[in-house]
């Protein structure tokens, strides 16, 4: 497993993919942070993290598209599958490599928040009243970071699974974009209102199903400063299910 993890990490940086991912992600997050906080003159990071998730629609497929599709196309998976490595070990090695790049990107992007703290400290120093909190709320940011990381982990698991289904990287990427977009944007239907101010989707059951499936509706608690264990469990189980399915794809191919 460790050998596969190391090989994947290496190949992220031998190909342009790792650099492209990190570069695009850092630029996007920096711009986003600038517009949602500094330009608006707000310490609230809620909308920053919310919009960040939209970037994952494009970025996470870049990270996951080649994981299995490339191996299958080049027939190198035969090496991995005939080596003394279990299939879960192989899947986990690849998944963790993608996750490492992702988490690395998120942690690097924390630099964006430093100006908020500096400005906050400056404003606090200049203010006469000490009772109210001025500046970003660290607890809320930490909670959001954890949620973003776990959400990303779930999306990467989905991307990994889709990559295992096809031997064409491009189709893996496009399908993953579609699936992630659906999961992220589904919530929009619940927010739509008709002219009377009533929700467009009248049936409560459908709305609750949509909000159950949507990753965004679960994320909104974190942006409001609530640490939602149920959502974390949802993200974790989503990751687990799709990794398990990836293993099953390989098991099935053996038996097919």
């Amino acid at each position: 497993m460790l050998a596969i993890y190391r090989k994947e990490m290496r190949s992220y940086f031998i190909n342009p993919i790792g650099y492209v991912y990190l570069g695009v992600f850092l630029v996007f997050s920096a711009l986003l942070c600038c517009y949602t906080t500094l330009v608006r003159g707000s310490y609230s990071t809620g909308s920053y993290f919310t919009y960040l998730i939209f970037s994952f629609m494009i970025l996470i497929p870049i990270l996951t598209m080649r994981l299995f599709a490339e191996e299958r196309k080049l027939k190198t998976e035969q090496l991995l599958l005939t080596a003394p490595v279990s299939i879960p070990g192989m899947v986990l090695g690849k998944y963790l490599a993608a996750l490492t790049i992702y988490v690395g990107g998120i942690l690097l992007s924390c630099v964006n928040l430093i100006p908020l703290y500096i400005i906050g400290a400056a404003e606090r120093g200049g203010s006469s009243y000490s009772m109210t909190h001025i500046g970003p709320i660290t607890g809320e940011i930490a909670g959001s970071l954890i949620a973003v990381i776990l959400l990303g982990a779930a999306l990467i698991a989905i991307g990994t699974f889709i990559s295992a289904l096809t031997e064409n990287q491009l189709s893996a990427a496009i399908i993953t974009i579609g699936v992630i977009a659906a999961m992220v944007l589904l919530n929009v239907f619940n927010l739509l209102k008709d002219s009377d101010g009533q929700p467009l989707i009248r049936v409560y059951a459908i709305r609750s199903i949509i909000s159950w499936v949507s990753v965004m509706s679960r994320f909104s608690n974190f942006t409001n400063g609530i640490f939602d264990y149920a959502a974390l469990l949802y993200y974790l189980s989503l990751s687990f299910v799709f990794l398990f399915l990836t293993v099953r794809v390989y098991e099935k191919r053996r038996w097919g």
């Binding site: 190391r6 031998i14 080049l74 027939k75 005939t82 279990s86 053996r254």
Partner: protein
């Protein structure tokens, strides 16, 4: 060392392997021989744990590949049909990756250096695999199979796409491996198995049609004799005379002339030596025999006759149907006496020739 018992593999409604059983002893080099699509690669993929079997058992050194895959895979080095190379790695990185992947405990540097010496890739050790020629890629693939000093080495068509010099090198290499490793290789090139293997297993349409020591096959070759005879005399009469002679299974005139002598192709019946009788018969008639050249039968002929035979029996049609359960019926017919097969082949051709003749008339 390797034991395959009643292996069946169905791909949907297509049966790729149909009850295959054979054993390979330690240090033996066995060649799997068969036309394209015979099931060679499938058998190897099952043996290496890449595919599973529909039913049956494959074990390496007593370890079942399905029930304890990790331990069994540790004993195997496998070169698939297409060498599984990461094109963006250098040879060094690639072999190091394989070393880690297989969880080797040997002295890394010395082990890898020795492998590179064996397959002669030392001079491209630092180069990126993408830039290597096909022959070098193949050798890197072989090197990969040898990493970790596996007891069993399995090569799927190791010499495809190599130039003649490289083919000879690889064959020598494989023969050298046979001293310390158990080797299975597949090929559809007959000279290759003849040159390298101790034993030959011929597979056709998912069934074993022959499983013989290479010498035995060569022995079967000796039994049927084919000659090229140069005989002075009127062509048509000589030919009728040859055909009517006892012990000759088949005769035909070749389009070759040497003065007043014509050349004939003569095939004797199974187990009879016709040379003396032929000489006496010709001498009686006053036709001079000025040349008699023995044509050895090569493995190609054996292969074709064995494969044809198995198809003639109508087993082929049945073989392609999927088998959900193992058939316990005895399969003696599959492993048949090669000599008899060859004899029948000759007889069949004689009949065909006779038929053509009547049509001509």
């Amino acid at each position: 060392m390797i034991k395959i018992e009643h292996l069946v593999k169905n791909y949907g409604s297509n049966c790729a392997l149909d009850d295959i059983s054979f054993e390979v002893g330690e240090g033996e080099i066995v060649g799997l021989l068969g036309p394209n699509g015979a099931g060679k690669s499938t058998a190897m993929n099952i043996l290496t744990g890449y595919l599973s079997s529909t039913s049956g058992k494959a074990s390496i050194a007593g370890i079942d590949i399905l029930s304890d895959p990790i331990r069994a895979k540790k004993l195997i080095g496998y070169l698939p049909e297409q060498p599984p190379l990461y094109l963006d790695m250098t040879v060094e990185e690639y072999l190091n990756f394989c070393y880690e992947l297989k969880g080797c405990k040997l002295n890394r540097e010395e082990h890898l250096r020795r492998i590179c010496e064996t397959v002669q890739i030392g001079d491209v050790y630092k180069r990126v695999i993408r830039n290597l020629s096909k022959g070098y890629r193949q050798r890197v693939g072989i090197a990969q199979a040898l990493v970790g000093d596996p007891k069993v080495v399995i090569f799927d068509e190791p010499t495809v796409g190599l130039d003649p010099k490289q083919i000879i090198e690889i064959r020598n290499l494989i023969r050298g491996l046979g001293k310390e490793h158990t080797v299975i290789l597949s090929t559809h090139i007959l000279q290759e198995v003849q040159a390298v293997c101790d034993r030959i297993v011929i597979i056709n349409k998912g069934r074993i049609v022959a499983n013989e020591k290479t010498e035995n096959l060569a022995g079967a070759v000796e039994q049927v004799r084919r000659f090229r005879a140069k005989i002075c005399g009127p062509q048509k009469e000589v030919l009728t005379c040859l055909r009517s002679m006892q012990g000759i299974a088949y005769a035909e005139a070749l389009a070759e002339r040497d003065g007043d002598a014509f050349t004939y192709f003569v095939e004797s019946e199974y187990g009879t030596d016709i040379r003396k009788k032929l000489f006496v018969m010709l001498a009686e008639r006053g036709w001079a025999l000025i040349g008699l050249e023995s044509l050895g039968m090569n493995l190609e002929d054996i292969f074709i006759s064995v494969v044809d035979k198995s198809e003639e029996k109508g087993t082929a049609a049945a073989a392609r149907k999927p088998r959900r359960t193992r058939n316990t019926k005895s399969r003696d017919s599959a492993e048949q006496d090669l000599g008899a097969a060859l004899y029948e082949d000759a007889k069949r051709r004689r009949e065909e020739a006779a038929q053509n003749e009547t049509e001509d008339d």
